[in-house]
């Protein structure tokens, strides 16, 4: 574990915590963006260029914008009167801890299940592209179709009917 890893981990966790703890919704959204950026840098630190840049392009370029737009177009950015914690925070804490435990268990198991690989496979963007349009082309198409259907559905739900001219 290099010092760079600790710096990036601190950035990511700090962004995540700020996203949960800040009162102002837009500030929370911007803090989430910091966490996204930290994750992208972690990918780059692991030499996964494609995952890192895709993370920046999709999460900072699109998802963060989507979040702030959703905040602005719905409730506005008024500050909540009371505390940022809901009354059922204890339940949330239990669920979060359980999820974390399961993930940690799975990660630790995988170390034992997969024998230690000495050579890290060098995966270039070129290889990922070939795999995506070669071996995994069907799942890719299905995901594309699903997203298109979701977009069309969202437009239909959002668009109100035009009033017909009365005869």
């Amino acid at each position: 574990m290099s010092p760079i890893f600790y710096l990036l981990a601190a950035l990511t966790i700090g962004g995540g915590l700020a996203a949960v703890l800040l009162k102002n919704l837009v500030h929370a959204a911007l803090a989430t963006t910091v966490a996204f950026a930290g994750l992208a840098l972690l990918y780059l630190e692991l030499d996964a260029q494609f995952a890192g840049f895709a993370q920046i392009l999709v999460y900072i370029g699109a998802v963060a914008i989507l979040i702030v737009f959703a905040i602005l177009l719905t409730r506005g950015s008024d500050l909540p009167k009371d505390s940022v914690f809901s009354r059922t925070w204890a339940v949330g804490l239990v669920i979060a801890a359980a999820v974390f435990a399961v993930l940690a268990w799975a990660v630790l198991q995988s170390l034992r299940a997969v024998p230690q690989q000495m050579a890290v496979p060098a995966v270039t963007v070129h290889d990922i592209g070939n795999a995506l349009v070669g071996r995994y082309v069907l799942p890719l198409e299905i995901v594309g179709l699903l997203l298109t259907a979701a977009t069309v559905g969202a437009v239909i739900v959002a668009m109100h009917e035009k009033e017909r001219p009365k005869p």
Partner: protein, 396 residues
């Protein structure tokens, strides 16, 4: 032809200069020092170019509007940017009382940093690229995506209705045209088979007779370049797509509440984005640093790169002086109903070009498809669009 030592020295003068300077340091520090020197060069060069471009733009707009432009400071007004710089440094930095101070402060910084990052992967001459990344193009677009957030931050944190409206417009426009920008670049990636920008330039740096193999000289490349240029103009908020800061309706859009040096930073960020997007267009379609004719290859490569970039900047200024501003609904209609379908079709044509093999047949087929699509969608299809007063579907 172009292998004499003098040519090589002139062509590689910046690389040699960098090596010479770094040579004074102990060997352990040399790689890091080389990178730092490259970064310093970029951070100094492009703002200097920005200063020159402001004079150039004001002069050019002046000529187009039949007036003289700045001519008081220095010879031909060339020292005007220094006067402007001192003015913006000495101005009071006004932050509105209800503004969100932290976000208001961060927005211009995020913009300038994100824009500067894009220059890291642009090949500005033979061997003159700061980071030769396997996924350079992806990196460039990832950095471009971060600028949208800074525009939103500026607009929202100002607590001003004009700022917020301008930011919303800017973000909507940038997201719509970013799709086109990406898809028109994908065509180049499909042909050259690489996301690395130096490799894309190398693929174009060959000649038939005296004529170069630039991608703009192919049917799909020409269509892709036109779409790229439209999207690039919209992406940099330049006229005729300058409605995020349309001064007659929104004061100055998202930077209404910025003054002094923070405003200068926004200005800088906008022009740097113009440079970097022109640089990318040059690299993708105009052959990057390669010479336009094979007998002109004796001129150093970096001169060609910067001439092409400055030529694109001139076209930007020319359009600003010529075209009126679009309306928001026209802008969106144009993006989603014409530019995007046409770019998708261009991807198909590019694939056809790739798999039809050499020969004249692919020139005919590809040109015919694109011309037919342009006439059908752009001419006949747009005739049915009525350009009357706007109907407000969601705001009645």
């Amino acid at each position: 032809m172009a292998t004499s030592p003098l040519f090589t020295h002139l062509d590689q003068i910046f690389i040699l200069l960098c090596d010479w300077l770094v040579g004074f340091l102990p060997a352990a520090l040399r790689p890091a020092a080389g990178v730092v020197l490259g970064v310093v060069a970029i951070v100094c060069l492009f703002p200097a170019l920005f200063a020159l471009t402001t004079v150039f733009e004001r002069k050019g707009l002046g000529r187009i509007q039949n007036r003289l432009g700045p001519n008081r400071v220095g010879p031909f007004g060339l020292l005007q940017p220094i006067a402007d710089g001192i003015k913006s440094l000495t101005k009071e930095d006004v932050v509105p009382l209800s503004a969100n101070a932290a976000v208001h402060f961060l927005a211009p910084l995020v913009l300038v940093v994100a824009v500067f990052m894009g220059f890291a992967v642009l090949p500005m001459g033979r061997n003159m690229v700061l980071v030769d990344m396997d996924a350079g193009l992806l990196f460039f677009f990832a950095m471009g995506a971060a600028t949208e957030l800074s525009v939103f931050m500026a607009g929202w944190s100002s607590r001003n209705k004009y700022s917020l409206l301008g930011a919303m417009r800017a973000v909507a426009q940038m997201i719509s045209y970013e799709v086109v920008l990406l898809l028109s670049s994908v065509a180049v990636v499909m042909i050259s088979g690489s996301l690395s920008l130096p490799k894309i330039v190398d693929a174009q740096n060959t000649y038939t007779g005296i004529f170069p193999h630039w991608y703009i000289f192919t049917p799909w490349g020409l269509a892709g370049f036109v779409m790229y240029a439209i999207a690039a103009t919209a992406e940099t908020n330049r006229s005729p797509f300058d409605l995020p800061e349309g001064e007659s309706e929104l004061v100055a859009g998202y930077h209404t509440e910025y003054s002094g040096f923070k405003f200068a930073l926004f200005f800088l960020g906008e022009y740097l984005a113009m440079f970097s997007i022109s640089g990318l267009g040059t690299t993708l379609f105009l052959g990057g640093w390669s010479a336009p004719f094979s007998f002109l290859a004796f001129i150093p490569s970096w001169i060609w790169f910067f001439s092409k970039v400055m030529l694109s900047i001139f076209v930007f200024i020319w359009m600003r002086g010529t075209l009126p501003r679009l309306r928001q609904d026209q802008l969106m209609n144009f993006a989603w109903k014409f530019v995007l379908p046409f770019t998708l079709l261009n991807l198909f044509v590019t694939a056809l070009w790739r798999f039809m093999g050499e020969g004249w047949l692919r020139w005919v087929v590809c040109s015919a498809i694109l011309a037919a699509a342009y006439v059908l969608m752009g001419r006949i299809g747009m005739r049915s669009e009525h350009f009357g007063p706007r109907r407000y579907r969601y705001a009645e």
